[in-house]
């Protein structure tokens, strides 16, 4: 199935079938973080189930491009309408014949990591040079102040090769770890700590060679590339074992595998269905262990009060906020829920010149809350959101697994 067939399948079988369930209750409108801060986006109901009725192969309402695809509308809809999915599909159609070079470039996440890691100090320095960023904004349309990842000198693969083998014997079986591009190149510490926590619990952790899930391309409407990437990734993860649970500490990439590739792009492939049902967000996995009375809770106290922000693409997986439950088990930790729907970045949305201000306005209440509760530290499960919250609040922002790692005495 190619991307065009996939899109057709997704539209007719997945999203459009839900259209008639819309009762125009406007609940989605009240949850939209974008229309709350700008009149440029008329909101999910108007652009989604209403405008969809006027689309016949083309998108008539161009404010659609301002949807950030955070998915808050679909999550809130009590009638099961796939609002965000409809909008993502319509946007892909709308942009198909004039895809900006910028959108093609910023969605190449693996490429960015591969290019930046060997020259990390240089890359980091370059990204902080104002005049250079001004040129990039003018030529490419990436906002000069947009948050950028910090390149690491060591990738997760590099660390795995050099590290000492785990001391705890694996008694609880084997897991596959999926780190995602950001967890491989930029947020390497999150991947390391996740692996170490799992090993501490008594699991053997396999980390196969793995590529990108294609999420950034998907959210930019580049369904061809994204479909190829996600299926290649499924093959790579499946090669390590056909019945093992897959664990990820990359909140949004997990969502791509669990549902977005299928529901938005219509990838209807047994390999994706297999990986998508075997994968667990790491905090979700820990909570499942806890519910089954299988999670050791011999946590050392960690005296910390800090904001925890559940990313939109984690919430859209419909599993609640497992991290809040796990953090609540650690003595001394007081995690304050951010209460924010989205941090604004929504993958690559907040990097774009014309959307930067909107993304900052969406994130502002969250940044303010972080500054108010604990201006030096906050928690969030997804990489790009952490970059956005770090930039917006000035706080150090890390994955909640950092606290679990510390509470188990591993750091």
């Amino acid at each position: 199935m190619n991307a065009a067939e996939g899109l057709d399948f997704a539209q007719t079988e997945v999203a459009r079938a839900s259209l008639d369930h819309c009762v125009k209750c406007t609940i989605c409108e009240t949850h939209c973080p974008v229309s709350a801060v700008t009149p440029k986006f008329t909101g999910p109901k108007f652009v989604g189930p209403q405008a969809e009725r006027f689309r016949h192969g083309e998108s008539v309402d161009h404010s659609l491009d301002y949807c950030s695809s955070c998915g808050a509308c679909t999550l809130a809809c009590p009638q099961g309408v796939k609002i965000a999915e409809l909008n993502s599909q319509a946007r892909a159609v709308m942009k198909a014949d004039h895809m900006p070079l910028r959108d093609q470039l910023i969605s190449q996440t693996t490429l960015m990591g591969m290019a930046m890691t060997p020259v990390a100090p240089l890359a980091n320095a370059a990204l902080s040079i104002k005049p250079l960023r001004n040129v990039v904004e003018r030529v490419l349309g990436i906002h000069r102040d947009a948050p950028m990842p910090k390149a690491n000198t060591q990738t997760i693969t590099g660390w795995l090769k050099k590290r000492k083998k785990p001391t705890v014997k694996a008694t609880r079986g084997t897991l596959i770890f999926f780190h995602g591009c950001a967890g491989g190149y930029f947020e390497v510490e999150t991947s390391k700590k996740s692996i170490e926590v799992l090993e501490h619990l008594g699991y053997e952790v396999l980390v196969p060679k793995q590529g990108c899930c294609g999420l950034a391309q998907q959210s930019n409407g580049l369904f061809d590339g994204a479909t190829q990437k996600v299926l290649k990734l499924c093959d790579e993860l499946r090669a390590s074992g056909r019945d093992l649970t897959i664990i990820s500490s990359s909140g949004s990439c997990t969502g791509m595998l669990k549902h977005e590739a299928h529901e938005i792009m219509g990838v209807d492939d047994s390999r994706l269905a297999d990986v998508g049902t075997r994968i667990r967000d790491i905090m979700e996995f820990l909570l499942e262990l806890y519910d089954a009375d299988e999670l050791p809770t011999d946590f050392k106290p960690v005296p910390l009060t800090a904001v925890y922000h559940a990313p939109c693409q984690l919430k859209s997986q419909g599993m609640g906020q497992p991290a809040m439950e796990i953090l609540g088990l650690i003595p001394g930790v007081e995690a304050i829920e951010s209460g924010a729907t989205c941090c604004g970045i929504a993958g690559t949305y907040g990097l774009k010149k014309e959307k930067y201000e909107i993304a900052q306005a969406v994130g502002k209440p969250l940044f303010d809350k972080v500054k108010d509760v604990n201006p030096s530290f906050a928690m969030c499960d997804t990489e790009t959101c952490r970059w956005q919250i770090r930039k917006g609040s000035g706080a150090e922002v890390e994955h909640p697994i950092f606290l679990v790692h510390q509470a188990y005495g591993l750091s």
Binding site: T30, P78, M319
Partner: protein, 426 residues
């Protein structure tokens, strides 16, 4: 510690979950989307029509239940309903809900009708439709869900429930909530009015059109996070101000929903929104677990007791096919079905029998076979799923929901404590 799963996050589900969690139960609240409370008027109806307009709802309940056997109020007496209404007031606080559950307020609607309700937001009570009241109804040109001339003219021509008339005139103002937006929905105004600077500009424009002795009726958009916004507006304008609820999105409903949801989180309820319960397992006459269809596949939620608070037909909790086969969506529970045809052709006539379809319960809110025994020994039902009420005509929805939720929660806690005592004895 009892583990309880509550399905549905309308007012019934939220209240049951909070009450259980506050009593020490481990509660998971599963809901496929935002609950109906957000779409409500932000008031608490107990009984408005029986079928004549009701002035004192708690006094009327016993007679109403006797005249309507099989109505949910047959299991929920006036003492319980009054206590449950007070409990809800306590949960959301006096900034969001005031009044005496024994006495109905008569408040204006967005079409200028007069609606009986028991409790209301404090921002609404100055709109009580009593003899000699003097209103100016103010509309906003950019808010197209509210027509002040319709409201004022209808109110002024109505013989009031308590006797007499009120006077009302209307004014339309040009007051954009956001620069360049010609069509704003209510929440956009409410967000703007959370900002003190916009509030002052708004108050100035209104003050200029208010006459001596007039109370100001406004669309219910007077702040969303700032629950004191309306009071400050009233002070700035120098006249009593009241909110009139709009069609959805209802800002007063949103305020209540946010307050109760925050309260549930503070009580330690585990909220799992956005996924549908698609199956369950039972053994030995008890429900053991439900299956939640999350994005990554089914997840099992096991519990000692379950509360079904999924709503009625409008919520998809009940369905009827074209042959009028009826179905309850989660547990496939047996439903009570009125005799004869479920739908009649007289639109303005008697309530449609279809709307009385629902789940029947015993006096502890255990779902039961119509006229028979409980279906499972640990599955309770509350709110809009209950058989026998035409809630929107009776104006009885929130009263039934809150009282049945309190009763279901208390029954679960009582059963859990009995089980503990028996366990300790053996």
């Amino acid at each position: 510690m009892a583990r309880v799963v509550v399905i549905g996050a309308g007012v019934a589900g939220l209240v049951a979950a909070i009450r259980l969690a506050d009593a020490g139960a481990r509660v998971a609240l599963l809901n496929k989307g935002t609950g109906g409370l957000q779409l409500s008027q932000g008031t608490l109806d107990i009984l408005g029509y029986a079928p004549e307009r009701v002035e004192r709802p708690l006094d009327a309940l016993a007679g109403f239940a006797a005249a309507n056997p099989g109505h949910p109020y047959a299991n929920l007496d006036a003492e319980l309903v009054g206590r449950a209404a007070d409990y809800l007031c306590e949960l959301v606080g006096p900034a969001l809900l005031v009044g005496d559950p024994a006495v109905n307020l008569q408040l204006p609607t967005a079409v200028g009708a007069i609606r009986p309700t028991a409790l209301a937001a404090p921002s609404m009570t100055a709109g009580a439709c009593v003899d000699g009241a003097n209103f100016v109804i103010v509309g906003l040109r950019q808010l197209k869900d509210f027509y002040p001339d319709l409201v004022a003219k209808n109110l002024a021509r109505t013989d009031l429930p308590g006797g007499g008339r009120l006077s009302a005139r209307h004014v339309m103002l040009d007051l954009p909530a956001r620069a360049g937006e010609v069509d704003s929905f209510g929440l956009t105004y409410a967000r703007a009015l959370d900002d003190p600077a916009y509030r002052r500009r708004f108050a100035q424009a209104i003050k200029a059109v208010v006459g001596q002795g007039e109370s100001v009726g406004l669309p219910a958009v007077l702040g969303v996070d700032d629950h004191g916004a309306w009071a400050e507006l009233s002070e700035l304008i120098g006249a009593p101000v009241f909110e009139i609820p709009l069609p959805p999105p209802s800002v007063p409903g949103l305020r209540l929903n946010r307050a109760l949801t925050a309260r549930a989180k503070a009580s330690g309820v585990r909220l799992v929104p956005g996924s549908k319960v698609t199956g369950f397992r039972s053994s030995g006459g008890s429900v053991d677990s439900v299956q939640l269809a999350t994005a990554g596949g089914d997840r099992t939620f096991a519990a000692d007791a379950f509360v079904l608070a999924t709503g009625g037909f409008e919520a998809g909790a009940l369905s009827a096919d074209s042959y009028h086969n009826l179905h309850e969506s989660v547990f496939d529970l047996p439903l009570r079905r009125p005799e004869g045809h479920l739908v009649h052709g007289d639109y303005w006539g008697d309530p449609q029998p279809l709307f009385a379809v629902g789940v029947e319960t015993d006096h502890t809110m255990l779902a039961r076979h119509p006229g028979g025994d409980p279906v499972y020994d640990n599955l309770y039902a509350a709110g809009g799923i209950l058989a026998g009420a035409t809630r929107w005509q009776e104006k009885s929805g929130e009263g039934i929901a809150v009282a049945s939720a309190v009763l279901a929660a208390d029954s679960i806690l009582a059963a859990a404590s009995t089980a503990t005592t028996q366990g300790a004895a053996s």
